[in-house]
Symmetry: C2
Subunit: 428 residues, 2 copies
Amino acid sequence: MEHGYIRKGVRLCITGSEVMNGFILDKNTQFFASELYALGFELKESRVLPDNEEQILRAWSELRETGDIIINSGGLGPTSDDLTVDLLCKWLNDTPAYDPYAEKRTRYFFEKRASRMDMQIQGSSHQISLETALRQARIPSTAKAIKNSVGLAPGIYFPEIPFIALPGFPDEIRGMWSEVLSLIKSLNVTRSATKIIPVWGVGESQLFSQLEKPTNFTLGVHALPWGCRLFLRAPSEDASVFEEFSASLEKNFPAQIMESPVANLVEFLTKNRLSISVAESCTGGLAAKQITDIPGVSAVFKGGVVTYANEAKSSLINVSQEVLLEHGAVSAQCARSMAEGVAHALDTDVAIAFTGIAGPTGGTPTKPVGTVYIGIYNRKRSETRTARFQFPLGRERFRNASVACGFLAAYQAIAMENQSYWPLKNFH
Amino acid sequence: MEHGYIRKGVRLCITGSEVMNGFILDKNTQFFASELYALGFELKESRVLPDNEEQILRAWSELRETGDIIINSGGLGPTSDDLTVDLLCKWLNDTPAYDPYAEKRTRYFFEKRASRMDMQIQGSSHQISLETALRQARIPSTAKAIKNSVGLAPGIYFPEIPFIALPGFPDEIRGMWSEVLSLIKSLNVTRSATKIIPVWGVGESQLFSQLEKPTNFTLGVHALPWGCRLFLRAPSEDASVFEEFSASLEKNFPAQIMESPVANLVEFLTKNRLSISVAESCTGGLAAKQITDIPGVSAVFKGGVVTYANEAKSSLINVSQEVLLEHGAVSAQCARSMAEGVAHALDTDVAIAFTGIAGPTGGTPTKPVGTVYIGIYNRKRSETRTARFQFPLGRERFRNASVACGFLAAYQAIAMENQSYWPLKNFH
């Protein structure tokens, strides 16, 4: 099976003083890491370095000694901070030359003074000369260019090291990624079969009280906003070792395995021409924000209310004084009334309501910080169901868990025949 | 001035297979980087490594050769993946020993089976034995312990290398950070005077059309959601080189320099017992979400509406058919009506409204994608002012820029005597 394959890993080098000085959060490492992991490659190291000649050259040499594939990200722009091309020439005794495709595009964009031209330079807009702009069309003369159709600077490939240089802009990296992958694959590197399974609404210890821990492959577990994501990695390229475990996972959690409950919910609503609204108290607009993160959602999402104060609950969505005084704003009755109220006010088929105590203060002995009541209104079934959950995880994680739980239960309530899946079965 | 000081930098080593496999985004590098930068230290490198003995030992040795301060983060927990203590002992020919404070706390927490105990292990809750739990109370016998009052594993300090080992959990790092800083300062490392200035509502090129670029110190610029953050770094510890530039910055942008417009706005409202509400269309709940990110905000924030559909604008906050038909939902008239409508519905002193086109579709020649109208209602002045802005930056950045602009203008409108500062002066 591993005939002709080499056990090589990948090593990253991220250059950029703006990361090193803490100006920006480096998200490229995670992009590379998760992409390489999902495809079965092994990432062995990631280094972040400032735009400093001596440091970068030292790192490249150290990384080269390992024999692994080097991916460098950053330093391909037009400014004097952008060192990658010149340093590669120095390192490999090469000279820079224009890549014809990049040169043509740079001249074309420059003539049109496209806004993209300005945006090449991190921070804000600049006017630069054609001569400066053309700096980023250069690659070392003996390298292969990797086409960049988002930005202007081509990527650079030296198969014999092997070394790949990419820009630092996430959009440009994504645009070049499929070519990069085929280059890596052409190196005949061994890959491990890999599978990633998100299971919502269940913690690691609960999950393994229902399931045997696998012994024939490695399993990584990481928390979702509510639930856990499982990372299955086989010792070889043979994915059949996952079959038994995957099947029993699907049998145990048939309605909890999906990439994104909110995306599934919106997709189902769109297909079925159903409308939705949300009423939020403790989640403070997060549910509406997550729904409207999805482009084109105006076809199904009519709107929402963030009824933080009790008066807002009464005036906007008609929660009665009786409910507020007898049961309180954090109650099943209030969640029910909020869901029905917003569905009525906005005339929607579905509504989700959240009311609870995000903290850090406001808890009581019977309703401590982390308590949330969720209400789901479903016009088709003429019913509203509510449930109580405890997410004592701190303000931010409480809000993330609450909306994930609400979206998952709403998806089950609207899209599934069987109405007794967890967490929906908790709703009465 | 630099008498007795050594030009040392800091080098980070972040260990953890969950970062290396892309399961989680490493935010610790940015924490360390921005903290060290703000205090004038120079971060020279950051390496992310898997929990792998050979790789970690090789990295430590390479980093030690540089003579810089090494900070290692991760690998201090109780599980078999947590290698730091044992590897340090191997590396330095030392033996592990219990740190008395950590041992006592571990036994105490273990007896109480505090939930914190379970949370020590990334991913989800586990039950572990006392023996396993005590693994994290160990440090190399010749090391100094750094007190961890958030978690249980102490930090580790070897002044002679110099080497500092910290846990990987952000909360624990933050809890130990002031002691870590005093350790670094005790090494008599040279620091550069540093100042960070956030200027909202102005891009880099606009900014430097009004101001001279400084020549006596280095200046980094990075984008805010709307505006830019300036990073001033002097060649020495003498901060007086910043004075002239800082003063002219404050003179040019007297109402735009602040850490966070929404925090300033909420603080002013709280002090003055004023209430606020928001009406959002294109921003989809983001403004409410950012307000409610602030704990305790229920004293001033009564609520908001996310009126995505036109019917929602009419039914919830009484935007008239006349406005919608004559001017459209994306218009100054609609922004005005939304701000007044939500202020009326929720009886608040202040209201901010957002209506625009986030994209990617929905633009027209006169109102292209990126157009937003913002309305600000101010009960005290009995006035509503509106303005139009263009933020053609893509869906996510459009929404972030819109709410930043709205909060800044609202803060100026409510808290400032002079009503002609940018961007408020754009509001009519």
